[in-house]
């Protein structure tokens, strides 16, 4: 516990009593990871961090204990394991929805602006579903029906990628199923593009 606390203090902003964005940036460089890397997001998820860019002491303690690490080098080694853990489907959906909620910085905020969503999509799904994500991001940028995305739509992006909709013809996409309208529009846009 002591080691964990000491590690915490080495990055924490003392006046706030928690690790702030600067501290996180420092942590990242020590871990040898870019601070936009998805693994930091995974770490935040493991810590159940509530506020983007900040880690409280409690979150730090619980998180590192759960990881079973108490030093920087151990934390570094634990990252690949963490990736695996997130990759398990039972956790993945939870992580995915966490990623969205992590972006809700204002109180009562329910949606995230398009640009941030695009970045987030890339970060979270880009590796696994590269072609779909690229096209989806392209679409989101050109369409004008929606300026923000809510959680429901966000969750359905994942479902869309997972459900093995044939790409890029999208033939087995059924618009009469309960897909959100934004995806219906995306599919239509795709079909027009390819005809």
């Amino acid at each position: 516990m002591e080691k964990i606390d000491r590690l915490f203090n080495s990055y924490a902003n003392n006046s706030l009593g928690m690790i702030d964005p600067d501290g996180i940036e420092a942590l990242c460089s020590d871990l040898g990871v870019d601070y936009t890397d998805v693994r930091i997001l995974m770490l935040a998820w493991k810590l159940k961090a509530e506020r983007q860019g900040y880690f409280t002491q409690d979150e730090w303690r619980t998180g590192l204990k759960a990881l079973g690490v108490d030093s920087l080098s151990k934390l570094k080694k634990a990252l690949p394991e963490l990736e695996n853990e997130v990759g398990k489907s039972s956790n993945y959906e939870d992580f995915y929805s966490y990623a969205f909620r992590y972006c809700l910085t204002e109180e009562k905020q329910k949606s995230v602006d398009i640009e941030s969503i695009c970045e987030l999509l890339n970060l979270v799904l880009g590796a696994q579903f590269h072609p779909q994500v690229d096209l989806l991001i392209e679409y989101l940028k050109v369409q004008s029906d929606y300026k923000v995305i809510n959680l429901d739509q966000w969750m359905n992006f994942l479902r869309f990628c997972k459900e093995q909709i044939s790409f890029p013809d999208l033939e087995n996409y059924d618009a009469s199923q309960a897909w959100p309208l934004i995806l219906d529009n995306f599919v239509e846009w795709m079909r027009e593009k390819h005809s």
């Binding site: 329910k110 809510n150 429901d152 199923q177 309960a178 219906d184």
Partner: protein
């Protein structure tokens, strides 16, 4: 010496054989045979029935039934062979007559023979399961005469020849035919069918095939159908006169198939005379005939119905998309009503009010009326025109008839909420300008709408009527409590409840001093009796009657809008006013002011003002004067314009937008209602249920419904099921 043993006394059967004279049977048979000969030779009168009967009886009794029976067969057969020859010998037309005569003879003979041999018929024959005498006689006739090689085919061809001759217009001996046919029927239904009916039907089919081919090449549809009907009736008549009644269905089937079913499509689509032409020209008789003939064949009626439906849909589509027609909404709707009347008449007079045709008519109308999104607006304008002036002088029953017809069109509308919006607007204008022809007619229509759509549809409309009535009472109260005002200008105020009337943006202008003072007095009176309310003057909707004296002393009463009144009153204090000055003084919005000035300065017969320059357009620097030379043959001159008109493009867009906005909460309410009771429901079912619930007002768009569902999800009224993404769950 007698050593007699004791014997029992026995009675033994009488062993005495009755020795019948072996020649007895022969003798008796000879007598009977002779009798049969005599009978066939028409010499029966010399015979004694009793004696013959006894002879036959004895033969059977003495076990000579076999001899009797076989003798009968032999004798009768021999006679029939003779008869056969004489029939064969008959020439030409006499053939049938001879056959008929011999048949009658045979029957008479058979009767007598049967009577004589009745004992055998009743005892020997049943015991030995042999054919009874009468039946035997018929069978022998059949085998020896009818099926004789020389007679069989000749008989058939003669009969068919006669039928053919009759079909080509000759008169034949029907009585003879009837007898011969009856003979065949008596010989057994298989004889009738095999020896006559089957070939008859085949030959008839050939005949009608040829005939129909001939006609269809040279006749138009109406004539062809007439001919087909005639032929059909002929065959039915033929059957009643000389064929078995069971043949009627079979021969009519043949005619129906050859003349109607085989040529159905060609007839219906015949150029210049087919079904469509008949419909266009209201040819009730031809249509009725077609209906009656086609209903006899499979798919006949559905063929007519389908062609009628597609024609109707096409005509209707043209009607509602024809740009020329769309210029006059009242004409447009009248044309629709006329079309409906036309087809109601056709279905009533020619298609015997067949319900399936009525349904086809309704679905066609529903289809094309909704092709034009302005139909609801136009129907409301039609009603407006009628209630303003169209129904003047029309009797009460006729008014009801017209309104009922309008309701019929209303029922076809998918977007009933659009109609409601327009109807409200038009009704408001009618009420406020006092331009309705009949209060009863107005109310009657409201009642019909209520019956059709429920209380909610009309509650606001009724509110409008109530406001009018209440305002009247309020005015009375106002003047009663301010007796000093009776000398000044008369003010009439209609107080409108905001929710019931079409929403208007509130625009005020500067009223002339006399009026604004009066209005203030009213305001304080009203608010005195109704605390907590707020009044805002709608100066863009009022009218005014003002008396004017022109340059040469002409006196007129002018009926104008409130805006126009404000402008005119300015000229009490100035001879010349520029546009800008008028604008400043009245504060009427520019576009309204320009229209208002145009209506008073640029329209012939209503030019109470004079404008310099004399152009049609209003320029900012134009000057206005009272037109001292103004004349009109009427004392009262109407200049105001508060008539309902079909909307301009931008107005239409606005109304459409408002309708769409109104629909959103209705859709959401429906979704919530459904989900509240079902708790969990899948996507397709929600769409279907919501559409159904809203059907009576408008056709809900599935995409719009989806949007509303998503909005409700975002606001946490609903959620998606975690496992099955097709399901939605109600969140209490």
């Amino acid at each position: 010496m007698s050593n007699q043993k004791k014997r029992n006394f026995q009675i033994e059967a009488f062993k005495h054989r009755v020795v019948v004279d072996p020649k007895y049977a022969d003798k008796t048979w000879n007598i009977l045979e002779h009798a049969i000969h005599e009978i066939y030779n028409h010499n029966a009168s010399g015979l004694s029935f009793e004696e013959l009967y006894r002879n036959a009886y004895n033969m059977v009794l003495h076990k000579f039934g076999e001899k009797l029976y076989s003798g009968l067969v032999t004798t009768m057969t021999a006679h029939l062979k003779e008869i056969s020859k004489s029939i064969e010998a008959a020439q030409g037309d006499l053939f049938l007559e001879e056959l008929n005569r011999k048949w009658n003879d045979h029957n008479k003979a058979l009767q007598m023979i049967r009577d004589i041999l009745m004992y055998m018929d009743r005892t020997y024959i049943p015991n030995t399961r042999k054919t009874p005498v009468h039946e035997l006689g018929l069978n022998l006739w059949r085998d020896n005469i009818i099926h004789s090689s020389k007679i069989q085919s000749r008989l058939l061809s003669t009969l068919l020849e006669l039928v053919h001759r009759e079909r080509t217009g000759e008169v034949i001996d029907r009585g003879l035919m009837r007898n011969i046919i009856k003979m065949l029927m008596d010989l057994g239904s298989s004889v009738y069918q095999e020896d006559f009916e089957k070939p008859f039907l085949e030959v008839s089919a050939e005949f009608y095939k040829g005939e129909s081919q001939k006609f269809i090449e040279c006749c138009d549809c109406g004539d062809y159908l007439k001919k087909a009907e005639i032929r059909l009736n002929e065959e039915i008549e033929r059957v009643t006169h000389y064929l078995d009644v069971k043949s009627e269905a079979k021969i009519t089937n043949v005619v129906e198939k050859e003349m109607i079913a085989n040529h159905m499509m060609r007839l219906v689509h015949m150029e210049n005379s087919g079904l469509v032409n008949m419909l266009l020209d209201d040819k009730y008789e031809d249509l009725g005939r077609m209906y009656n003939l086609f209903r006899r064949v499979a798919n006949g009626l559905s063929t007519i119905r389908d062609v009628m439906t597609s024609h109707l849909r096409e005509t209707g589509k043209e009607l509602v998309t024809d740009a020329e027609r769309l210029k006059d909404p009242v004409e447009f709707v009248q044309r629709l009503l006329d079309e409906k009347d036309k087809y109601d008449n056709i279905i009533g007079q020619a298609f015997s009010n067949d319900k399936t045709f009525q349904n086809a008519l309704n679905s066609s109308f529903e289809y094309f009326i909704n092709l034009n999104p302005r139909s609801p607006e136009f129907i409301s304008l039609f009603v407006d025109d009628k209630l303003r002036k169209g129904l003047k002088g029309v009797s009460e029953e006729d008014v009801e008839i017209i309104l009922d017809k309008v309701m019929m069109l209303f029922r076809y509308l998918q977007e009933k909420d659009v109609f409601e919006k327009y109807y409200k607007q038009h009704l408001a204008k009618r009420l406020l300008s006092g331009k309705t022809v009949s209060d009863d007619a107005e109310r009657s229509l409201i009642v019909k709408l209520k019956t059709e759509c429920g209380y909610q549809f009309t509650s606001k409309l009724e509110g409008m009527f109530t406001d009018m009535k209440t305002s009247q009472d309020t005015m009375q109260g106002f003047y009663a409590s301010h007796p000093e005002l009776t000398d000044g200008p008369t003010l009439v105020v209609q107080v409108l409840t905001t929710g019931s009337w079409p929403t208007q943006t509130c625009i005020t202008c500067n009223l002339p001093a006399e009026m604004s003072a009066l209005c203030e007095k009213f305001r304080s009176y009203y608010l005195g009796t109704h605390t907590g309310r707020r009044l805002s003057w709608q100066t863009n909707m009022g009218t005014a009657d003002i008396k004017a004296i022109f340059g040469k002393g002409q006196k007129h009463e002018l009926n104008v809008s409130t805006y126009q009144m404000c402008v005119l009153m300015l000229f009490n204090n100035a001879d010349r006013l520029s546009y800008r000055e008028i604008e400043q003084a009245t504060e009427i919005p520019a576009s309204d002011l320009k229209r208002c000035l145009q209506s008073m300065a640029c329209v012939k017969g209503k030019n109470v003002l004079r404008k310099e320059p004399m152009s049609k357009d209003i320029g900012e620097d134009d000057a206005f004067f009272v037109n001292d030379k103004f004349t009109s043959k009427f004392y009262k001159v109407k200049i105001g314009t508060v008539v309902a008109q079909k909307e301009s493009e931008p107005e239409k867009q606005e109304t459409r937008q408002r309708v769409e906005e109104d629909r959103k909460p209705q859709i959401e309410a429906a979704i919530v209602r459904i989900m509240k009771s079902r708790r969990v429901l899948d996507h397709n079912n929600i769409i279907a249920e919501v559409t159904k619930q809203l059907q009576s007002r408008f056709l809900a768009n599935p995409t719009e419904i989806k949007k509303r569902i998503e909005s409700l999800i975002e606001r946490d009224f609903l959620e998606r099921d975690n496992n099955d993404r097709k399901l939605y769950r109600y969140l209490a």
